[in-house]
Amino acid sequence: MEMAPLEAEGASVVRKTGPSATAALGAVVLVAAALVPTFANSYIVEVGTTALLYVVLCLGLNVVVGYAGLLDLGYAAFFAVGAYTTGILTTQFGVNFWLTLPVAIVAAAVAGVVIGAPTLRLRSDYLAIVTLGFGEIVRIFARNLEITGGASGLVGIDRPRIFGIALTKITDFYYLFLVLAVATVFVCHSISRSRIGRAWFYVRYDEDAAAGIGINRTAVKLYAYVTGAIIASVAGVFYAAKMTAISPESFTFSQSILILLGVVLGGMGKIPGVILGAGVMTLIPEMMRGAGTYRPLVTAIALLLLMLFRPNGLWPDRRV
């Protein structure tokens, strides 16, 4: 099966299954998403905003799980790092919202290195356990420290202002998260086609062969882990701004599993698949509202059926 030649030297050689078709589809989806608030009611815009938040979180976790093949069961911890950084700095130190963003990025990077550097030398199963523990530690700290507001959390988080106009309406946040999601897609796409992105694929496929060809596997895994941490943290910053109140209950183990579910459901390692997964994962529970108390059961059955018939996800990467 001879593939089409590259359009230009240095162009994408990693993805070539109809990149132009995928890009066209992406543009259509983006335009449609941008038009949603013009006709939809506020409930739909609210659900859409949540879906976009999960798109960002799932894309971030996809870097760790999908690209680098590292099982992270405590991803919500980095989401919490971002949300609490903004929450603490704006409510207790009066810092401008936008200034909390770089602080949250640095905090997530530091946390990622501290957790990742010692554990990424281990095989994946151990990493899963350590990340699980880290997720719980962060949540329990948030629950018990004074500065994080304890179990009731933080309230009255500053709303961001753009050109002097405060973002308050749900539509404002819908567009804010849309921009964030597009930026995340751009970042993930760029990295996945770079030498680091390729190194993730090499290490995931055959760690020893990758090391034998000159790739520092620990460093490469750490890049993935920290990249994922920063993306979650940025999502947390904007989540805090949207909610204006955060509590430890938003950053539980089940939150981590929900994000992981979106990644696995959509198709690990493939951006359109992960976006689809995040969307489906947000929408299925909403659509099942009619089922009343049976909602979790119906949702679980729907997910089981999906896994049964699409075991590699809805839109998987060709390299499983």
Binding site: S194, Y205, R318, V320
Partner: protein, 253 residues
């Protein structure tokens, strides 16, 4: 000075001694072979040279630097590349992507440059592709560059492994049984390819069981048996060494 000096290297797995006090040196531009009966410790020695195993004793000195305790990726960066006995390609990636992995250690742009698409990053990316294509052409499988590596024939997969190793700009190329599974005409091509690699300035050390090929292509032969070096020298000399004959055929009563 020797390009690579192996000095009194020993390797043990628990109570089992795999290599004991092995010493030899590799000279620039010479085709070397490492031979010996099954279980003599040849692949284990390769694994020591490339950092996959850490010798219990002894030194491995590449251009004056002891690489015996370095991690595999650092050794590759210093100029030692290898192929594997059982081919280890990234089967679900294209042939070109496989070879590009060899350029990783010769390129340096990071995450931020990749996100920002800086001119330096684009230049480096173009050079990764260009160099990878050059080595694919060198081993003669450029036409397969966009196929998945796993779909290639066995012989072509071996060539991808060569191109991938050569793309890392090695000073020494270690080939672990390059003729295994090849037919006679492919073996003739292999001899020519080994010589062309040498002519590129890359020193070759190969493990091989095919004695015809070893005698034909090598200029220096090192013989291992039970983890010890039992002979070393020109092919014609080693061939008639009584220790070597004994190791392969058993002693006369």
């Amino acid at each position: 000075m020797a390009l690579l000096a192996v000095d009194q290297v020993s390797l043990r797995f628990g109570g089992l001694t795999v290599l004991s006090n092995v010493s030899f040196s590799i000279d620039q531009g010479v085709i070397h072979s490492l031979i010996g009966p099954n279980g003599a410790g040849k692949t284990s020695l390769f694994n020591c040279l490339t950092g996959f195993y850490r010798p219990a004793a002894g030194r491995i000195v590449l251009e004056g630097v002891d690489i015996g305790s370095l991690a595999p990726h650092k050794i590759t960066r210093r100029g030692l590349a290898r192929t594997f006995q059982n081919i280890r390609l990234f089967g679900e990636m294209t042939v070109l992507e496989n070879v590009m992995s060899g350029r990783h250690c010769r390129s340096s742009y990071g995450l931020l440059a990749a996100i920002a698409h800086l001119p330096g990053q684009r230049r480096e990316e173009r050079s990764i592709v260009r160099e990878s294509r050059r080595w694919l052409k060198f081993v003669g499988i450029e036409r397969h560059q966009h196929q998945l590596a796993g779909n290639l024939s066995y012989g072509d997969q071996r060539r991808v492994e060569w191109a991938r190793a050569l793309a890392s700009e090695p000073k020494i190329l270690l080939l672990d049984e390059p003729a295994a599974g090849l037919n006679q005409s492919e073996k003739a091509d292999l001899v020519a390819l080994i010589r062309r690699v040498r002519d590129e300035g890359v020193t070759v050390l190969l493990i091989e069981h095919d004695m015809g090929l070893v005698m034909q292509v090598s200029e220096h032969v090192i013989v291992l048996d039970h983890g010890q070096k039992i002979a070393e020298g020109a092919p014609a000399v080693v061939q008639h060494d009584p220790n070597v004959i004994e190791a392969y055929l058993g002693a006369e009563e």
